[in-house]
Each structure stands twice: as structure tokens, then as C-alpha cells.
């Protein structure tokens, strides 16, 4: 009976409004954060960092961004891959042009550039919605990738058409480039992921979030009660693109090191992030992390199981992996159409009464 809400009385509105009103949740949250910052760094190695932890953290940031747009504001977008590319190319151009600038600052600036581009491509949302908007954002996907692969200015005329990240240090430790260690890359990405998740939570719990959700649930009623639909939609596009831009910057700068836009940020990335958001749970911060975990960690665990434990040939395992993950997506969505967070919520409701049925 550790996890329960009975007897946990609130005496102020601030206490009632806090992110984790149940003490068990609060403790678990602090434990996870402490574990991630204090314990994981001592055990992480290159394999774990590169195959699971870094992509998980980076895609979780992207999923958070897309969740703000789709899950909170109800604006469908299929341009996330391209927005990640904007973040990546902005980081490249900025850090090459200003080698002395702090890498954190560069990445934040890249996020702001992406936010501006996102607002630009969010303009159609003022007139169209739903699937039609999704198709309009496809224009962003194809146009931006075309721009980054065909215009030499963006990749500084490199003969391969690729951009590669020079070594940059943060607090004296290299976090990008070949010399960066697994620990420093991990802590660098973790820092961004935690800070941005906190930011997303704050933005969605207050006035801003309510405006977004009002537009999502019924845009006409939202306008009648005084929400300026243009500001609400465009701010969602801006914040969402900022997150996705930062994710793109980290994916390029920290994780991959060298990318080519068409290959790394194609439409399949847009879909991957969209799936994370839908499987994790629309309109939920936790859901973004769960969705990213499912689609990043799931395949790796499967591969470990099939190849290392059962000794199957790796090409067979690779094909099976795709099929099994696909089937798992279907299973999750049939069991719980509202994503893994809803599953978690159901478990919580059951736990409240356990071991009694009623």
C-alpha cells in the first residue's frame, strides 16, 4: 500500500495543481531523475549510448514537440522530419560560422530558427484543418529536404553533400565530434530532454496549454470564449518546431555527427515521430517518452533477444524485428486506442482499489 492517494490531503490550490499530486508518483519521479543523472553515467558504454539511450532521449524530445502540436493543439503535421533537418542544418551553419559560440547556445538558436520556419509552414493551419493540413505540411517536408540537398550554400559546398559536425566542448568536455565520450554525450542529451520536458509541462498546464486544448477540442467555441485562433495555432507551431529543431540539432550534432538531409530526415522520420506520439498517447508528456521508448528500445531489445540469446542469423532477425514491432503497434492500439499513457492510467485506477475488485 505504498502507492495510493487516500490520506494525501491538499490544503492549497498550488498543492492541488502540482504535476504529481500523488506522493508515490512524486517519489518515483525524483528517483528516476536521480538515477538518470547519478547512476547511469557510471555504467553507460558506447554500445548502450549509441544503440538505445541517445536515440531514445533525442526522439523523446522530438515526440514531445510533435505532441504539443498534435496532442495538445490538434494540428496534424507530417513535416517533423524536415523540421529536424532545419535544426540540424541551422546548427551546422551557425557553429561553422561562429566556432567560438557555446554549443548550448548554438542548439537553442537552431531551435529558434526552426520555430520561425515552423510558424511559416503553420500558416496554412489558419484556413485548413485535419487531414488537409497534414497534406499541406507535407509540402514543408519535400520542399525543405529539396532545399538542403540541392542548394550548396546549406552544406557549404561539401562534395558529398553531407554536413559534418566539428568537435565542440561543453564545460570542458567534448560533446560533439569524434572525441566525445559516451558519458558526456549522454549527460548533454539528458540535460536537454529533462529541461524541455519540464518546459513542455509548464506550458501545457497553464493558460497557453488551455488555449491550445480549447482549439483542439472545439475551435469555434474557443474563439467565442476569447481565444485568438491565429495566435494559439501559430504559437503551438512555434513551440513544437522549437522542440523538434533542438532534437534535430542533437541528432545531427551529438548522435550522428554527419548527415545528408534526404537520408537522415526523410518522410520516414516524420512518420516515426508521429507513431511515437500516437502510441505513447496524444496530449501527454509521459506518453512522448513512452512512445519513443517503445519504438527505439523495442527493436533493440528484440534484436538482443533473437540474435544474442537465441542465436538466430542477424538478417532473419532484422526482418522479423520489423514484423514484430509492427504487430506490437497494432496490439497496443487495439488494446488501448489512446496510447500507452491511457494503459498506465487504467493500471493506476486498478491499483487504487487493489486487491479488492470494487
Amino acid at each position: 500500500m505504498i502507492y495510493r492517494e487516500a490520506g494525501d490531503f491538499k490544503t492549497s490550490y498550488a498543492a492541488d495543481n502540482q504535476t504529481f499530486p500523488i506522493r508515490g508518483d512524486r517519489v518515483a519521479y525524483y528517483l528516476v531523475i536521480a538515477f538518470a543523472f547519478l547512476v547511469v553515467p557510471f555504467f553507460i558504454n558506447d554500445y548502450w549510448a549509441n544503440s538505445i539511450v541517445l536515440p531514445f532521449l533525442i526522439y523523446a524530445i522530438a515526440a514531445l514537440g510533435l505532441n504539443i502540436l498534435i496532442g495538445y493543439c490538434g494540428q496534424l503535421s507530417l513535416g517533423s522530419g524536415a523540421f529536424m533537418a532545419v535544426g540540424a542544418y541551422a546548427t551546422f551553419k551557425l557553429t561553422v560560422a561562429f566556432p567560438g559560440m557555446s554549443i548550448v547556445f548554438v542548439i537553442l538558436l537552431a531551435g529558434l530558427v526552426t520555430a520561425a520556419v515552423g510558424v511559416l509552414f503553420g500558416l496554412p493551419s489558419l484556413r485548413i484543418k485535419g487531414f488537409y493540413l497534414a497534406v499541406a505540411t507535407l509540402a514543408a517536408q519535400f520542399f525543405l529536404i529539396w532545399l538542403f540537398t540541392q542548394q550548396p550554400w546549406f552544406y557549404n559546398n561539401s562534395p558529398t553533400g553531407m554536413i559534418s559536425m566539428p568537435t565542440r566542448e561543453f564545460l570542458g568536455y567534448p560533446v560533439t565530434g569524434a572525441r566525445a565520450s559516451a558519458v558526456s554525450m549522454y549527460l548533454f542529451c539528458l540535460m536537454f530532454a529533462v529541461a524541455l520536458a519540464w518546459l513542455a509541462r509548464n506550458l501545457t498546464r497553464g493558460t497557453m496549454g488551455r488555449k491550445w486544448m480549447a482549439i483542439r477540442d472545439m475551435d469555434i467555441a474557443a474563439e467565442i470564449i476569447g481565444v485568438n485562433p491565429m495566435l494559439a495555432k501559430l504559437s503551438a507551431f512555434a513551440v513544437s518546431s522549437f522542440f523538434i529543431g533542438v532534437a534535430g540539432a542533437l541528432l545531427f550534432g551529438v548522435y550522428l555527427g554527419a548527415v545528408e538531409a534526404g537520408e537522415a530526415f526523410g518522410i520516414d522520420k516524420s512518420f516515426l515521430i508521429l507513431f511515437m506520439v500516437i502510441i505513447g498517447g496524444l496530449g501527454s508528456i509521459l506518453g512522448s517518452f513512452l512512445g519513443a521508448a517503445f519504438l527505439i528500445v523495442g527493436p533493440v531489445l528484440l534484436k538482443l533477444l533473437l540474435v544474442n540469446q537465441l542465436g538466430w542469423p542477424s538478417d532473419l532477425a532484422a526482418h522479423l524485428e520489423i514484423m514484430i514491432v509492427g504487430a506490437l503497434i497494432l496490439v497496443v492500439l487495439i488494446l488501448e486506442p489512446h496510447g500507452m499513457t491511457a494503459l498506465w492510467r487504467t493500471i493506476k485506477e486498478k491499483l487504487r482499489l487493489w486487491p479488492f475488485p470494487h
Binding site: 493558460t207 497557453m208 467555441a221
Partner: protein
């Protein structure tokens, strides 16, 4: 008869003091292509009164309310509000001038809790900046608490404490109507527009809703414009009634005057042809 003086208002039968003109509709005409929804209608709304708009289906009542809340823009005519001619406004701008409304078909935000729904009513009164909200520091956190307190008063007033944290989608119809009224009230409007607040309710729910409407008017001195089909309710609640039929105004006055108006009787009951 009312003892109406042009600028000072009048006193109702039960002794409430009604003020001067809050809003005046002057020769409003609204067309949708060839269909004339509202034909040259003029009437006024006075501070503190409960003003009803009645009429058969398709008479243009809801269109009239939509004109007031800025959702439709009439082709002809003027809306005067607080002594000034109102320029063409978007609905969210109208909301910021102190006009709140409820809808005929409930328009709550189904994905949010009751509390969040009512908090949206106060959006226009909250103005913490983006950075403050993102950091949840200073103004944003303080403001959230202050407005929560105001919202709790509305929740208390409408007796919906027990469903505070329930998602709106799970509520029964009658409670949804009440939550919608709560959201409109949370905005602290000067004029409250109610579009069929009692449609689809049973007698008990209607009585509750009537009591809330009277209480709102009495306690907050809110001016209320109301569309309703239930004649008994309208005649009991309202101070003055506008009667519409086929987009035209066929009667205007106290419930008693309207009840005895020949044209109104004709529209509602029909007349004998000899």
C-alpha cells in the same frame, strides 16, 4: 405597464432596478445568400435585465445571438454597445468586451476536465507572459492560484464541486449544460447570452437551471439575454421579451404585453379562418 424612462431604466414588478441601455440593435438585417435570416430588427438590452428572445423554429433567434457575439456580421444595421457603435469584430474580440455565451448544442472542451473547462472562461483575464509560463515562475504560478480561487467560487455557486476533476466527456447532459454556464460565468461577463439553456432537460433540471439564472442575475447583477422555447419558463424569468417570426420582430415588451399581442398569438397558436 413599465415605468420606462429613456435613460434611467425602470423598476420591475419584484422591485429590481433596471439600468439604462447596455446594448442596442439598430435595424439589423442578416442574409445568407438569398435567405433573409433577420429582417430589419431593432431592440435594446438594458443593464441588469433578463431579456428573452422567443419565436418558432427558424425565426432567426440563434442568428440574432450570433450577431451579438460577433459570429455573424449583419449586412445592414448597427450594434451599439456601452454607448458606442461597435465596429466589425472577430468573436474573440467581442468576448474580450465582456460578452460571454453558452450554446444550443453544448460546446464544451470534451478532452479537458471540468475545472480546466471553467478555467478557460478566465483566459481573457489572465496575462502572464510566455517566459513566466514556461518557467512556471512568478506571475504565471501566482495568477493560476488567484484565478483558481475565483473559479472555485463559480463551482461552489453552481453546486458542481463533486465533478471538478471529472473529464467533461463523462458527464450527463444536464451537468454539461451547467458546466457550460459555469465557463461563461467564470469570465465575469457584463452580458451573458444563453442559447436555449433548458433544451432537453426534465422538469427538475429546468427548475435548477431557472434558479441559477435568477441567482446569477440577482447576485452578480449580470445582464442576461436568453433564447428559450419553454414558454412557461420564459414568461416567468424574463423582464422583457422580443418575439421573432420568419426573421421579423412581431412583438416586444413585458411578458404580459407579449402574451396579449395579437400577432404573437397568431404566430404561436394560429388564427381561425372564417
Amino acid at each position: 405597464m413599465l415605468d420606462t424612462k429613456p435613460d434611467e431604466g425602470y423598476t420591475t414588478a419584484d422591485g429590481r432596478q433596471i439600468g439604462g441601455v447596455a446594448m442596442e440593435m439598430k435595424n439589423i438585417t442578416l442574409r445568407f445568400g438569398g435567405v433573409v435570416a433577420i429582417k430589419d430588427i431593432s431592440f435594446d438590452i438594458r443593464w441588469g435585465e433578463i431579456r428573452a428572445i422567443i419565436g418558432p423554429n427558424g425565426a432567426g433567434k440563434s442568428s440574432m445571438l450570433n450577431v451579438i457575439s460577433g459570429f455573424y456580421h449583419p449586412q445592414d444595421g448597427e450594434v451599439w454597445y456601452k454607448g458606442y457603435r461597435r465596429a466589425r469584430m472577430r468573436p474573440y474580440q467581442v468576448a474580450r468586451t465582456g460578452i460571454a455565451r453558452t450554446f444550443q448544442n453544448i460546446a464544451l472542451f470534451e478532452g479537458m476536465s471540468v475545472l480546466d473547462n471553467i478555467m478557460t472562461g478566465r483566459l481573457n483575464l489572465m496575462n502572464a507572459g510566455f517566459i513566466s509560463q514556461a518557467m512556471w515562475w512568478g506571475k504565471a504560478a501566482r495568477e493560476e492560484e488567484e484565478h483558481r480561487e475565483k473559479v472555485e467560487k463559480v463551482i461552489d455557486f453552481l453546486e458542481i464541486q463533486h465533478i471538478r476533476k471529472t473529464p467533461v466527456a463523462r458527464l450527463p447532459y444536464g451537468l454539461k449544460k451547467r458546466v457550460e454556464l459555469a465557463r461563461a460565468l467564470a469570465a465575469e461577463p457584463s452580458i451573458l447570452l444563453l442559447d436555449e439553456p433548458m433544451a432537453g432537460m426534465n422538469v427538475e433540471e429546468k427548475e435548477d437551471m431557472s434558479r441559477f439564472i435568477l441567482d446569477v442575475n440577482d447576485e452578480f447583477n449580470t445582464t442576461i439575454v436568453l433564447i428559450e422555447h419553454d414558454m412557461g419558463v420564459v414568461m416567468d424569468l424574463s423582464d422583457r421579451v422580443v418575439v421573432m417570426d420568419y426573421g421579423k420582430k412581431i412583438g416586444d415588451g413585458t411578458p404580459d404585453e407579449v402574451r396579449n399581442n395579437e400577432e404573437v398569438i397568431k404566430a404561436y397558436l394560429g388564427v381561425e379562418h372564417d
